[in-house]
């Protein structure tokens, strides 16, 4: 592989945000940011091995018909690749084993959790231990949320960021819940919750609607695995790349050009450049 940072966004069957995610990767410094339809992967014409940064974009995989990302997870787990003995999941596992980066946003986060990729305590990337379910409101909602960062998190994407970030959520199934309390204790203790819904001053995590838009336990908005390389979040970082994305950009002339969501992609690309090339 040449010395270039190569990002891929998987598209198809209901992904919606692939264009802006690829754009975010390019803006953050990726040399390549390909949007690859899953049909290309399953036909064997594209391969995850050729990339460093796998993006699972927001959308409604298969309409979220069986529950958010359920049918999508089933496809990634079981779909065979034409002309080889491999399944797509074999490529995903190889990608993770190689220490490469995977980020899932919204439906991509739901997909990772339901495939067992997150929180994947103790490196077990096969068993689902948490889920994202219907918002307490019972409704889809589009609203901006304040997110408190955990500076002690091993998360590559939020490394070095202080205070909080402001991003929109746009989902009907964003409530993070776990099967066992011990899972929650473990992800808290190990700082695997880099982002929590919080008050507007970024001071305190909150369970109060609408600051916490879905009723997520422990105000969880995003989760990483212990390596910090696998990361998923309900809010959309690719929706705040430029100041004109901010809902109040016309009110604040001091707002910086670059949006806060871009920071997460920059961290990912910088990490790859430093560690994986």
């Amino acid at each position: 592989m040449a010395k270039e940072v190569r990002a891929v966004v998987i598209a198809g069957n209901g992904t919606n945000c692939e264009r802006e995610v690829a754009y975010a990767c390019r803006l953050a410094g990726a040399d390549v940011a390909d949007i690859v339809h899953v049909a290309e992967l399953l036909a064997g014409r594209a391969c995850l091995d050729d990339y460093h940064f796998l993006n699972l974009a927001g959308g409604f995989l298969d309409g979220d018909d069986l529950g958010s990302a359920k049918a999508g997870a089933n496809r990634l787990l079981h779909a065979p690749i034409v002309g080889s003995n491999e399944k797509l999941i074999d490529q995903v596992n190889r990608f993770i084993a190689a220490g490469k980066l995977v980020m899932g946003v919204c439906n991509g986060f739901q997909l990772m959790v339901k495939m067992g990729l997150l929180p994947a305590l103790d490196g077990d990337h096969g068993a689902q231990s948490a889920t994202l379910t219907v918002n307490d409101s019972g409704r889809f909602e589009d609203r901006w949320t304040y997110l408190k960062l955990d500076p002690e998190s091993p998360c590559i994407y939020t490394r070095g960021l202080a205070g909080g970030i402001y991003l929109p959520v746009r989902h009907g199934e964003g409530k993070f819940v776990v099967a066992r309390e011990t899972t929650l204790d473990a992800i808290e203790a190990r700082h695997l919750i880099p982002l929590k819904y919080c008050t507007a001053d970024y001071a305190e995590p909150t369970l109060d609607y609408p600051l916490n838009p879905n009723g997520s336990v422990h105000a969880i908005a995003g989760v990483c695995d212990q390596s910090g390389r696998l990361f998923g979040l309900m809010p959309h970082p690719e929706a705040y790349l430029h100041r004109t994305h901010h809902p109040r950009w016309t009110r604040d002339e001091a707002l910086p050009e670059a949006g806060m969501g871009l920071w997460l992609y920059q961290n990912a690309i910088n990490f790859i450049r430093a560690e994986l090339l």
């Binding site: 598209a11 198809g12 069957n13 209901g14 992904t15 919606n16 945000c17 264009r19 802006e20 754009y23 339809h37 049909a39 399953l42 036909a43 927001g58 959308g59 409604f60 298969d62 309409g63 979220d64 018909d65 069986l66 529950g67 359920k70 049918a71 997870a73 089933n74 496809r75 079981h78 779909a79 339901k114 689902q128 231990s129 948490a130 889920t131 379910t133 219907v134 918002n135 307490d136 409101s137 019972g138 409704r139 889809f140 589009d142 609203r143 929109p168 746009r170 819940v177 776990v178 099967a179 009723g215 959309h236 929706a239 790349l241 004109t244 994305h245 809902p247 109040r248 016309t250 009110r251």
Partner: protein, 1005 residues
């Protein structure tokens, strides 16, 4: 086959039932919501509602496969449990299971089937399938009769769904809910019938009625004459045809339908005005709409922005050198009245296909939606068959939500208009814009042409009985007739896959032309495309079907969704179909385009239709409609100035047409694609009402598209001429308020009328037709005055409800949508006040124009002084405003519409989080001023602008010579203070208090 002795087997077939429910202790928000809504809708208070998902799997699968499916894709191990072929429900007083009727689109069932296929690596055999249903476990005191009401009036829609109700005892006795498979079983074999038209007039009409063809006597007689024409007979004999076949009759009925041919807009209208002057109008469409655009384009010369108007599925205008903007707005009223969710969902995914099927195809960038409903709090008894407005509201909002959100298209602009006459027919307008390459493989992207020899390829979903005669179905027959055909449910994911595939096929140059399968199905799509070549050969037996047993005519006119028709050159066919297969999209070769001059359809090699193209497309006789304008006798009410203006303002802000629609707006994803620069909600707390939306379709460019609309049906009660003028002005006013370039904008007109053709059913047809004429006259006059070309539009002309003696006609309503450009989105404006000490300007003059106003409506009056538009001064104002915006002089800009100045002040202040002091004596007023007139008049073309004091001189210099006034200042302290003409305090109210009044009414919906 595995032996299955439980109730899971029906006859010899293997039926599995997998029931999935939440584990103990897991909250059920869907159940909670249903419980809450049952209380709101039906006034039935329940203790609790819980829900279970049921998958009925009709496939030869073994226990292990079903267990793996249940544990895998069909359930979530963290929060759910499941049962296979045994009941799961416990602890309820009433169980209601709701499933689909045979043939109704079951999206979840389709996804479950695909998931099981991936899991087992075994494709389902023909006839196998998965069907879904939902169990509602109700706790509370209700008997079976009450449960029946809950099912029929809230949980289910009898047109598309069926239900089972069980008490706990029945549930135990029967061992749970019996499995049932809603598979379509059709009787009889496909056959083609011929029709003898050599019959009496009464029998001709009977043929039309019985076949639900909606052809009138004149049209039936035209067909009668056609088939006996010796020249026609000779030609038909060569194909073995004599009398018309049912296939031919159906094609003609579709092609000649009001929906496809717009017979009212094409009619000859004999119009008489109030002075008794008579005029013959040969087609409203040609005389006013097409003519307006032609005259404007001619005047604009090199500045003409139009690229494709009226001839395609959507209009196309220039965006920049590389890209073009495509826009179309449709209505889906009747289906939404019958099944609000399915109707609206199909409305949005249906209009998506219009821009996509324009030119060589375009990528969809945003949706708009405008609804007209009766009050959700409507408390009068409803006539039979009408759904309660609240149910329509909920269903339509949810349908558009699913259609837009799942398709990844942001819904960025819309509104909801309330008038209780919309109980008779809700209006559901759905719009979609798209971005198209200006040049595609070296040719203009907005042009297309099928060539002789090209293959006719249908792509996307399969054909069923969906939507056959949907438009002409009467209410009685909806209940008695076959329910599978009544309404359709859109499938956003199948459509999304098809679009993903087609964009790649487009860029690879694999096809020559594309169009949508909408109304009329293949008969319309192929019928229109083959006008390019002058004929076609279409093999109906080659079309993929959802289930067997469709008649050839049904295949031809089915409105099954998610389908496009393409012209694919023979040499590209294999590549096209291979790409489709890889992307999980079905593509079928149905024949070819010819230059035979005939629409030629076959079924298993036999000719079933052979129609002269000229007759098919131009044979419909012109309708003749009488129209006579008699102005209604109206007068102005004698009202005193209110004693408490602050209270009146709060009540105005809480009126349904003015209050916040935030709860609805938030249910739509308005930010996907990362292009929404001015969002529907704005201001310090992200909750102020934006006038219009600004969207950046190219992520690496600051050029933006701007979309807005105007709609004011209340003014129709006084004069539709001014209603139309006000709608145009409102659309443009909203557009310029956010920074839209007034000289780079196009309009789309969507007429929704009550039947304007005089008949026994419509004795006031002449008046309604005259209203239509007047609206069209204004459309021409004002589009020309503003130089806004019309690029597309649609009409829906039968929005009446009539059963027995009960008749409700909607107010004549036109949605005027506008789309245009802003050169740099960073100069866009929002409506919220920005800073303390900013100056408050009112642009435009105010007059005693409260006729049809929200204030008069609040007082129970209509009045007569309808607002009139002075386009010349307005255009100068809008152009100057554009300059001020580009120079960065405008801190905020908000249009004045419903509720007038008072409401605009309250909205600007409260969205900004600042107070305001305003002096009414400064307001330029034409006529005799009064505080109430100044505050509540709805005079058009006015804008409320705040400006930083540093920009005062330049701003005032730009507007020199125009009508404007400095009327106040933005202040700290959160109070809106308005001083009256005599210097007295007329309004003093906290902005939080005003915001609460504005947000409260629809907060919970």
């Amino acid at each position: 086959m595995l032996a299955c002795t439980t109730k899971g087997s029906i006859g010899e077939e293997m039926i599995w039932r997998v029931v999935v429910g939440l584990r103990d202790g897991v909250r059920d928000p869907r159940g909670d919501r249903v419980c809450r809504e049952i209380a709101q809708h039906l006034n039935v208070t329940l203790q609790e509602v819980r829900t279970l998902d049921v998958y009925t799997i009709d496939a030869e699968l073994d226990t292990a496969a079903i267990a793996a499916a249940a544990a895998g894709p069909l359930s979530d191990p963290v929060i759910q449990e499941y049962a296979i072929n045994r009941p799961l429900a416990t602890d309820f007083d009433i169980l209601i299971e709701v499933g689909y009727r045979p043939g109704v689109t079951d999206n979840v069932g389709r996804t479950a089937r695909e998931a099981i296929e991936y899991l087992t690596n075994r494709p389902f055999a023909h006839g196998e399938g998965v069907y879904t249903s939902t169990q509602y476990l109700l706790k509370g005191s209700l008997d079976k009769a009450a449960a029946e009401r809950v099912a029929a009036d809230f949980l289910a829609n009898g047109l598309i769904q069926r239900w089972t109700i069980l008490t706990p005892n029945e549930f135990i006795t029967q061992g749970g809910v019996a499995a049932s498979v809603p598979k379509v079983v059709t009787e009889g074999h496909p056959q083609v019938r011929v029709l003898d038209l050599a019959v009496s007039n009464e029998q001709l009409l009977q043929i039309s009625r019985a076949g639900m063809l909606a052809l009138n006597l004149q049209e039936m007689k035209t067909l009668q004459a056609y088939v006996v024409d010796p020249a026609v007979r000779e030609v038909r004999a060569r194909c073995g045809l004599d009398a018309l076949t049912d296939v031919e009759l159906e094609v003609l009925a579709q092609t000649w339908s009001e929906h496809c041919k717009h017979k009212i807009f094409s009619a000859r209208i004999d119009y008489e005005d109030e002075q008794g002057q008579r005029q013959t109008i040969d087609s409203l469409f040609k005389s006013f709409i097409v003519k307006a655009t032609r005259d404007i384009r001619a005047a604009q010369g090199d500045d003409d922005i139009c690229l494709s108007v009226f001839k395609d599925n959507a209009g196309v205008i220039r965006f920049n050198d590389d890209w073009s903007l495509v826009f179309k707005v449709e209505t889906h009223n009747s289906p939404s009245a019958l099944d609000p969710y399915g109707g609206a969902l199909t409305g949005i995914v249906g209009v998506n296909r219009d821009p996509f099927g324009t030119g060589m195809g375009a990528r969809l960038i945003f949706n708009t939606d405008v609804f007209c409903f009766a009050s959700p709090f409507y408390a009068q008894p409803l006539p039979p068959r009408l759904l309660h407005p609240r149910r329509i509201f909920e269903g339509v909002v949810e349908g558009v939500e699913h259609g837009g959100n799942k398709s990844g298209i942001p819904t960025i602009n819309g509104s909801i208009v309330f008038d209780d006459r919309f109980a008779g027919k809700p209006l559901v307008y759905c719009g979609t814009a798209a971005l198209m390459p200006a040049l595609l493989n070296g040719r203009p992207g907005h042009e297309k042409k099928a060539l002789v020899g090209d293959r006719i390829v249908m792509v996307g979903g399969r054909i069923g009985k969906d939507g056959i005669h949907g438009a002409t179905f009467s209410s009685e027959e909806l209940h008695a007739g076959s329910p599978v055909t009544a309404v359709q449910i859109g499938d956003p994911i199948t459509q999304r896959r098809m679009f993903d595939f087609l964009l790649i096929a487009r860029d690879r140059g694999l096809y020559n032309a594309i169009t949508d399968n909408g109304a009329g199905g293949l008969s319309s799509s192929v019928g229109e495309m083959c006008e390019d070549t002058g004929g076609c050969e279409l093999h109906l037996d080659r079309a993929p079907l959802k289930y067997p047993g469709l008649q050839p005519w049904e295949i031809l006119i089915s409105e099954a969704q998610e389908r496009m028709t393409l012209a694919v050159p023979t040499e590209n066919l294999a590549r096209f179909i291979q790409l489709a297969r890889e992307m999980n999209v079905e593509a079928s070769d149905l024949g070819c385009f010819t230059d035979s001059g005939f629409f030629h359809a076959f079924y298993h090699g036999e000719t079933v239709a052979y129609l002269d193209m000229a007759f098919l497309h131009n044979g419909v006789p012109q309708l003749i409609i009488p129209a006579k304008w008699t102005p209604p006798t109206l007068s102005e009410p004698q009202l005193d100035c209110p004693a408490d203006f602050s209270e009146v303002l709060r009540r105005l802000l809480g009126r349904l047409n003015i209050c916040s629609k935030e709860a609805v707006v938030r249910r739509y994803d308005h930010e996907v694609q990362a292009g929404t620069v001015v969002k529907p909600l704005t201001g310090v707390a992200n909750d102020g009402p934006s006038d219009a939306a600004v969207f950046r379709p190219l992520l690496d460019s600051f050029e933006g598209a701007v979309v807005a609309h105007g709609i004011c049906p209340r003014y129709s009660d006084i004069d539709t001429y001014h209603m139309m003028a006000c709608a145009i002005d409102e659309g443009l006013r909203n557009y310029v308020a956010v920074g839209g370039h007034i000289d780079h904008v196009a309009g789309l007109d969507n007429f929704c009328w009550c039947d304007p053709v005089k008949s026994d059913k419509t004795p006031d047809g002449e008046y309604k037709a005259a209203q239509l004429v007047r609206a069209n006259q204004a459309l021409y006059d004002y589009c020309l005055a503003y130089s806004v070309p019309l690029i597309s539009g649609k009409d829906s002309m039968k929005n009446d409800y009539q059963i027995g003696t009960s008749k409700i006609s909607i107010p004549p309503t036109v949605l005027f949508s506008v789309i245009g450009k802003i050169d740099d989105v960073r100069t866009a404006c929002t409506m919220d006040a920005k800073r303390v000490d900013d100056l408050v300007y009112l642009l435009g003059s105010t007059a005693d124009e409260l006729g049809g106003s929200e204030y008069y409506a609040l007082c129970g009056e209509l009045g007569s002084n309808v607002p009139q538009v002075d386009a010349a001064t307005a255009l100068a104002r809008y152009r100057t405003l554009n300059i001020a915006q580009r120079e960065g002089l405008v801190a905020s800009c908000h249009d004045l519409s419903d509720g007038g100045l008072a409401v605009a002040l309250a909205e600007t202040a409260s969205a900004g989080g600042f107070g305001m002091t305003v002096n009414l004596a400064q307001v330029p007023f034409g006529g005799e001023p009064r505080n109430d007139r100044i505050l509540f008049s709805e005079s058009q073309s006015r804008l409320l602008v705040t400006v930083h004091p540093a920009h005062r001189d330049r701003f005032e210099q730009l507007f020199a010579g125009q009508v404007w006034a400095l009327i106040g200042t933005v202040v700290s302290g959160g109070k809106l203070r308005v001083e009256g003409l005599a210097g007295e305090g007329v309004i003093e109210a906290g902005i939080d208090d005003l915001k609460e009044a504005w947000q409260a009414p629809l907060r919970e919906l």
